[in-house]
């Protein structure tokens, strides 16, 4: 693989950029792999990357029914934060956030990580108490967050209307090292690094069945034929229930549509990420100047990547009352993704009833921020067959045993 650097740019500039080459190969599947990962989203690719990098397992295929990064990884609003309440959540989200800090260097691919600061508005007294509690929890967990007064909020985001018609801003929870990154670049950077390690990323290839013998996985059927494997990782987000059914078990997951939209590009007006969970909307501004906007999920099961129109209206209503300056903006594009919602709004990184078959899912509306940490933890689980400390609480049996990781305060709405 040719390293990307300032010298490479200079060299290519002198020869009409004719020497860049492909960022990853497009191989035909082999008959057999040590590990197959289903799903080339951020979590699947990161799992493969850390399998190679941390555990030396490189005979790996990543099988993707569409194009890599075309699922939720390429559809999200790219918010990165780790200000969660429960210890096990903040451990894995903070691991991910700290890996994001150096990911561009690690992958030799500019993922445009922008720790611009993240603010969660408190607009009810209940939220004030909840966020202050989270700030205290974060201090004990070693995650740097703080409480801001309304005046401090106005300072970091001058376009805000503190005295909105429905919910005045009573303060906010601030994570200075939260922010955004370029979502496609995260998928592409991991894909390029995986391909460089000799792993096969097989796109336009749908897994249609999971094979087993004596309770242990032996391979998969795909639209490009049968492929054998010693271990299988299922990392398919909204389609987790569908693939789990092929593997013979049921998950505590429901699939629903979540939408996002961007406005026409304008000059810089907001240089942090703001989330307003009571009125249901969040916003940041991309480098191109578009406002990147999202809200809540639809309430019913859906696999169509199309959401309900009234949720767009609800989201924009919330943001217009919080930031009146945006009321005249036109919206450019809007789209949906299928998110995998668990009963306690926390992810699943787990062994399964099928031997040597592992699952990573349930990231729901908030898994972009977790990609590096989740891949790290999933790779350890797949490599060793047992979860390490990051994943151990996130097994799928917690629902039977009542060990919920309840993040509905921190993640019930938001991203």
């Amino acid at each position: 693989m040719r390293r990307y650097s300032v010298f490479a740019i200079a060299r290519e500039a002198l020869r009409y950029h004719s020497g860049w080459g492909k960022a990853w190969r497009a191989p035909e599947p082999k008959k057999q792999y040590d590990v197959i990962i289903i799903g080339a989203g951020g979590h699947g690719l990161a799992t493969a990357y850390y399998l190679g990098k941390n555990h030396g397992i490189k005979n790996v295929a990543i099988i993707e029914k569409g194009w890599l990064g075309g699922g939720n990884t390429g559809r999200n609003t790219t918010i990165i934060r780790s200000n969660y309440l429960q210890d096990s959540s903040s451990a894995i989200f903070e691991k991910a956030r700290s890996l994001y800090e150096n990911l561009s260097q690690d992958l030799n691919y500019n993922i445009m990580f922008s720790p611009r600061g993240l603010l969660m508005l408190a607009q009810t007294h209940h939220e004030v108490r909840g966020y202050k509690r989270t700030v205290h929890a974060n201090q004990l967990q070693g995650v740097a967050t703080e409480w801001l007064t309304p005046e401090q909020v106005k300072k970091v985001v001058p376009i805000i209307n503190l005295h909105g018609p429905r919910y005045p801003v009573l303060g906010g929870q601030w994570q200075a090292r939260g922010g955004t990154a370029r979502h496609d670049a995260v998928a592409w950077g991991y894909a390029r690094a995986c391909s460089d390690m000799g792993m096969d990323i097989i796109q336009n290839c749908e897994v249609t069945g999971v094979h087993q013998q004596n309770g242990v996985v032996t391979g998969v059927s795909t639209t490009k034929g049968e492929i054998g494997c010693k271990k299988l990782g299922i990392v398919v987000a909204g389609h987790s229930g569908v693939v789990a059914e092929m593997a013979g078990f049921r998950l505590p997951v429901e699939s629903m549509a979540l939408q996002a939209l961007v406005s026409e590009p304008i000059k810089p007006v907001i240089d942090i990420v703001v989330m307003a969970n009571t009125v249901h909307g969040y916003i940041s501004q991309s480098d191109k100047g578009e406002l990147v906007i999202g809200g809540g999920t639809d309430g019913f099961n859906n696999y169509t990547q199309r959401g309900s129109f009234q949720h767009i209206e609800e989201t924009l209503r919330a943001l217009v009352e919080t930031f009146p300056i945006i009321s005249r903006l036109k919206m450019l594009r809007q789209w949906g993704g299928i998110v995998d919602m668990t009963g306690d709004r926390s992810p699943i990184i787990s062994k399964t009833p099928l031997g040597n078959c592992f699952i990573n899912c349930g990231w729901g509306t908030g898994g972009f921020k977790a990609i590096p940490g989740s891949g790290w933890a999933m790779a350890e689980l797949v490599a060793k067959g047992e979860p390490g400390p990051l994943a151990s609480e996130f097994d799928m049996w917690r629902f039977k045993e009542g060990r919920f990781i309840d993040e509905s305060v921190a993640a019930g709405v938001a991203h």
């Binding site: 997951v253 019913f300 859906n302 169509t304 129109f309 045993e401």
Partner: protein, 107 residues
Amino acid sequence: MLILECPCCGVKAEETELAPGGEAHLKRFGPGSSDEEFEAYMFARKNPKGVHFERWRHAYGCGKWFLAARCTATLEVFGTYPAQTTEPPAELIAKIQAKRPDWKGWK
């Protein structure tokens, strides 16, 4: 936009009038049940990509609960029926079978 005909009041209700209530025909488990039964009742939804039977409430209309059959892969609505039943009506099942020959049935 999703439109469901409320079988209680006959109104063709659009989405903003309706509140979704999740999977229909759940068997409820109470005290004395096993952990497995409880988990299945509380969390292990079918979540099919295809035909789905679900509960809805005509929240900003007559206020009553009812049931609907819908396809989660196409958003097609097959029909609605009253909540006072333990299984989908036979005509509705026949209608869905005619439209979806591969469908494995509602159980």
